[in-house]
């Protein structure tokens, strides 16, 4: 039975990874990861810097190919059918990875067009996104002139524009001030339950308030997985993030 068939047999999984490894030269960024992300939940992917979170996200989006193992996203393989996977996902990257020379509305029009939205459908989606993420005051301003908080809202708006069943959010509050962090977290809380959100963060407070389940990566390995309160409530929770005795796998 191949990975895609197995995923079809388990329809409640948004992401399913089995023995997933990714190597960059001698460095093993992900080491035989087995992970199931259930549908319609906010799932936290935790880990210190360099734990393998971003590599995992890039394997989910099809931006990178796995060195070994398999991964399916909503039953499809991002390695062999990236377009089908990307059609059903939204991706919020870290702040400032936007086209700063574009105005907010023009940027959203581009993102919608690139996802095959057009005409009245595109106009409606843009207006709804601007309203949902409270972007009305800056809709006609250049993205480069916006505060980091507004830029992150623009990033969220483009990810939710086409109403995808899976949204990946990478370090959504990184570099934001406390007020902006709170605003972004409130927006994400409002989305909870309506779709699968894969929240990639190293902020434990953020994971506690947003995620219902979490997985902790350390040096490319899965070191804990389960209910958020259970994993992060452990006395030795912080030790999950400390360097493994063996160091980084190579």
């Amino acid at each position: 039975m191949n990975a895609a068939q197995q995923a079809q047999d388990e329809p409640d999984l948004a992401i399913r990874a089995r023995g997933l490894s990714r190597r960059f030269g001698p460095y093993l960024a992900l080491d035989a990861l087995d992970l199931d992300v259930p549908e319609r939940q906010t799932y936290g992917l935790l880990g210190a810097n360099g734990a393998g979170k971003t590599t995992f996200i890039r394997l989910v989006t099809g931006f990178l190919l796995p060195s070994a193992g398999s991964i399916t996203v909503q039953g499809r393989s991002p390695a062999t059918d990236p377009s089908a996977v990307q059609a059903g996902l939204g991706f919020v990257m870290e702040t400032s990875r936007l086209y700063e020379e574009l105005r907010v509305r023009a940027f959203l029009r581009f993102c919608g067009g690139a996802r095959s939205l057009a005409g009245a459908e595109l106009d409606t989606a843009i207006d709804a996104s601007i309203e949902r993420f409270r972007l009305e005051p800056v809709a006609d301003r250049l993205i480069g002139n916006l505060s980091k908080g507004y830029q992150q809202r623009v990033s969220l708006a483009q990810a939710f524009l086409h109403d995808p069943p899976l949204v990946i959010v990478d370090e959504p509050t990184s570099g934001l001030d406390p007020v902006q962090q709170n605003e972004v977290q409130e927006l994400l809380l409002g989305m909870r339950g309506s779709r699968t959100i894969l929240l990639c963060t190293h902020d434990l407070h953020e994971a506690r308030s947003l995620a219902s389940r979490v997985a902790v990566l350390n040096a490319g390995r899965l070191v804990a997985e389960g209910d958020t309160a259970e994993i992060l409530g452990r006395d030795d929770a912080l030790s999950l993030f400390r360097e493994l005795p063996g160091g980084s796998p190579t």
Partner: protein
């Protein structure tokens, strides 16, 4: 098709949303105009000297055939315009892919459901359109003058087509260099270097055997422009430039695959 058009539109907005495009357009137009008017000034001086040297007043019959608008002004200006393209086009192409990589928006592009082929196609189309615009702006003065000189629109069209194809070939080189790096400086310098090497191999004839020299002559960019400047559009030269652009597109597309596998 819709995602491709969305990206083409976005690329135009990004291109004209930054000062580089306007600076490049102005610089090329200015350099061409200066070179053109300088040649025209020299031509008029020579013409005047010949015409007044007969002692019988102004007599244009005294002007030899080789002193003409074509050989004295148009052809040298076109040659210089080709070299100007060599200098200016890598400045246009350097940001196209490299900037996306350096600011991380290439990941956004790929995850908005655009295929790498669509991304490459859109970026090549927009860059080619900008090169055509740059050339059109620069071509106005010499074209107007030579049209007055009775060269004919067909001949002018052939010269413009040759210059355009040459510009697109240099642009293709620049785009490939931009696709394999995240540094705009590296993209520009490598674009200049590769285009300069491919420009002409005749200097190396003395060191090479006949077969290699003949092969390199076929590969070089500048000799292909020669027939166009004479007003002759040879199918083999058009095919050469088209193949050149297609190979460049394939290489730029390959850069995406290489990144996915990434060592």
């Amino acid at each position: 098709m819709r995602p491709l058009l969305a990206l083409v539109r976005k690329e135009f907005q990004s291109l004209f949303g930054a000062p580089t495009a306007y600076l490049t357009l102005t610089m090329v137009a200015l350099v061409t105009a200066l070179i053109f008017f300088d040649h025209l000034r020299l031509y008029n001086q020579v013409l005047f000297l010949y015409a007044t040297s007969t002692m019988y007043g102004f007599d244009t019959d005294a002007v030899p055939d080789y002193v003409n608008l074509w050989d004295s002004v148009f052809f040298p200006v076109m040659e210089t315009l080709g070299l100007t393209l060599l200098g200016a086009v890598p400045l246009i192409t350097m940001r196209v892919f490299a900037e996306e990589r350096s600011r991380g928006t290439d990941e956004l592009l790929v995850t908005t459901n655009l295929t790498p082929t669509q991304i490459v196609l859109a970026k090549f189309l927009v860059t080619f359109a900008f090169i055509a615009l740059t050339l059109s702006v620069s071509f106005v003065y010499p074209a107007a003058a030579i049209e007055q000189g009775g060269l004919g629109m067909l001949h002018l069209s052939a010269v413009f087509s040759g210059l355009l194809l040459l510009g697109l070939a240099i642009g293709s080189v620049g785009l490939v260099c931009s696709a394999f790096t995240s540094s705009q400086l590296v993209a520009a310098v490598s674009g200049w270097a590769v285009a300069f090497v491919l420009w002409d191999f005749s200097w190396a004839n003395a060191f090479l055997d006949e077969g290699t020299a003949a092969f390199l002559e076929q590969v070089a960019l500048h000799p292909r422009f020669g027939s166009f400047s004479e007003g002759i559009v040879r199918l083999e030269n058009v095919v050469y430039f088209a193949a050149f652009a297609l190979v460049a597109m394939a290489l730029a597309r390959f850069s995406f695959d290489l990144r996915r596998v990434g060592a």
